[in-house]
């Protein structure tokens, strides 16, 4: 099984996504007839990927700090 990302990294981005959704909900309009079937899901996947990518760097930074601290203990 691939390693699961720790929960705390999810919370903040997911909250941001939720606020984004609320903003979109407020400006909702009818879906157009010719909407490409996969388009919405693809954009959504990329939006989540962007946020997870931020989480990735955040994890790297915290790991770096932990490693720096490590030898001194």
């Amino acid at each position: 099984m691939p390693k699961q990302p720790a929960k705390q990294f999810l919370n903040l981005p997911m909250r941001a996504v939720f606020l984004m959704a609320l903003a979109m909900f407020a400006t909702e309009r009818e879906a157009r007839a010719y909407t490409d079937p996969g388009t919405g899901a693809l954009i959504w996947q990329m939006a989540v990927a962007g946020l997870v990518g931020v989480g990735f760097y955040f994890r790297r930074i915290t790991a770096w700090f932990k490693n720096r601290k490590g030898p001194k203990d």
Binding site: P5, A21, R32, G40, I43, V48, A49, V52, F56, Y57
Partner: protein
């Protein structure tokens, strides 16, 4: 409208995959692979994850035919024509799957198991730099209750910097949304998938949702966001479809793992639970007509019949909780168990899996069986085309009164169909019109079935079968017949 030209090709082969075509030839399952598919296929066949998944039975055992075997096949002009038309470079042979079935015949448990297999493979292959091109249940068949991945041309080499899972939208449409529609609205897979080759669109499900539902997972990510984002996207902007590669493969892998684990969690949330009730789910415990003694006698009758004639392939029509399917499977037969209630079939599937019994439960109403679907009605054969002559024993226990009364199918036609399906035995329960369950179905229309006597039954059965033996089951209103097809 002009009529489309009749098919000219001698061999019917699959055509959607640009990398190759699947076809049946003299009882073998073969696949032509062209230049687009060869490199990816070879990478898969050589990969540790590929070999492991084949050995474990998760992917159908497949081998590339050698030059001599290819020459032999290509000597047949119809194979040669197909091979040339598809730009063939190699031919694969797949191990046969006994009874092909399609997603619209499965219960929710089976679609869930197929989705899990898809994710398992997608994640296992990542370690070898491979991935899936598509994410559809049509990549999967069932052997007994176990899913097996059959489309070996679905595997491809991945760029390590690619953080996008391209099959994501299709996986959502064909697995997650039908499961969501089943869980939230009680829609069977026959209702959502028979007429929709590529599953449910988020926009379609969106219209069924209540406003508050849209903000709740899993509706939020599967339905609402794709609908809103898709609606706002400029349709002429195709930039989002361009492949985006990250410079850091570790980051790409991190994102991909996160995405696939997220899908796994969503799938877990959509897992059908045991103990769901339907009209027929309690039939075996409370709602049937048998005393314990009679039921045991019935079990003995069926068990002895199957053992005596060494039945190896059994079709159980109207299997309910699969009690008699299990008896057949325990005696070593491969069973296809039909019922129109997908909820009871969920239990049949769970039990078969737990007991490791070769039972394939299918949500098929035999009076309204799955039609041939897809292009020219030829892509997925109808249930009857797949079933005719494939079984050496057919069970029709406590079911003909439903066909006679509820569906208004004449008795002669029921027996004709049974004779088409079986090559040898028919174990059938005759239920007379004065039976209490029969009367419950007629609801005051008794006069429609007055002529239905055991004598008439025996006369009609005699056109195709000889009676091996008969036994009363419950008083005199029900009789079990063991019939053997005349040769």
């Amino acid at each position: 409208m002009s009529q489309p030209a009749p098919p000219t090709q001698a061999i019917t082969a699959s055509f959607r995959d640009p990398a190759g075509s699947l076809f049946r030839y003299q009882g073998r399952v073969l696949r032509v692979v062209n230049a687009i598919g060869v490199a990816d296929l070879e990478a898969f066949l050589a990969s540790p994850a590929g070999r492991k998944s084949m050995a474990a039975g998760a992917v159908v055992p497949t081998r590339a035919l050698d030059a001599a075997e290819c020459r032999e096949l290509l000597a047949d002009i119809s194979v040669r024509e197909l091979y040339d038309a598809r730009g063939g470079q190699m031919i694969l042979e797949h191990e046969q799957v006994d009874f092909p079935s399609f997603p619209y015949e499965w219960n929710a448990e089976m679609l869930h198991a197929a989705a899990l297999l898809t994710l398992d493979l997608a994640q296992a292959l990542l370690a070898d730099g491979l991935g899936l091109k598509d994410g559809t249940p049509y990549n999967i068949l069932f052997r007994g209750p176990e899913p097996v991945f059959i489309d070996v041309l679905s595997f491809e080499r991945r760029d390590p910097g690619d953080a996008t899972w391209l099959p994501y939208a299709q996986f959502v449409r064909t697995f997650l949304l039908p499961l969501l529609a089943n869980q939230a609205y009680g829609l069977g897979l026959d209702q959502t998938l028979t007429t929709r080759r590529d599953g449910l669109e988020p926009e379609e499900v969106y219209r069924w949702t209540k406003p508050w539902q849209r903000l709740r997972p899993p509706f939020f990510g599967l339905v609402a966001m794709p609908t809103w984002l898709g609606g706002k996207h400029k349709q002429d902007d195709t930039s989002i479809y361009r492949k985006k590669l990250l410079s850091d493969p570790e980051k790409a892998r991190y994102i991909l793992d996160h995405l696939l684990n997220g899908l796994r969690r969503t799938l877990q949330r959509l897992k059908p639970v045991a103990g769901t009730h339907s009209v027929w789910s309690d039939y075996m415990t409370t709602n049937n007509n048998y005393t314990a003694d009679h039921f045991q006698a019935k079990q003995r009758f069926v068990g002895e019949a199957l053992a005596e004639f060494r039945s190896r392939r059994v079709l159980d029509v109207g299997c309910n909780t699969g009690h008699f399917s299990a008896i057949a499977a325990r005696s070593g037969a491969k069973v296809v168990a039909l019922d129109y209630d997908p909820v009871v079939l969920g239990d049949v599937w769970r039990n078969a899996r737990q007991e490791k019994l070769e039972i394939l439960p299918l949500a098929v109403n035999v009076t309204r069986p799955s039609p041939g679907t897809g292009w020219r009605n030829l892509e997925c054969a109808s249930f009857l085309d797949r079933a005719r002559g494939k079984f050496d024993a057919v069970l029709m226990l406590a079911v003909i009164h439903h066909m006679l009364v509820t569906e208004r199918v004449p008795l002669a036609d029921i027996i004709d169909l049974a004779a088409e399906l079986t090559t040898n035995l028919l174990v059938i329960e005759f239920v007379a019109p004065d039976d209490s369950m029969f009367r419950r179905l007629t609801r005051g229309r008794e006069e429609l079935h007055q002529d239905l006597t055991p004598e008439l039954f025996e006369t009609l059965a005699g056109r195709h079968f000889e009676i091996v033996r008969m036994q009363y089951v419950e008083g005199t209103t029900r009789r079990l017949y063991l019939l053997r097809k005349r040769t």
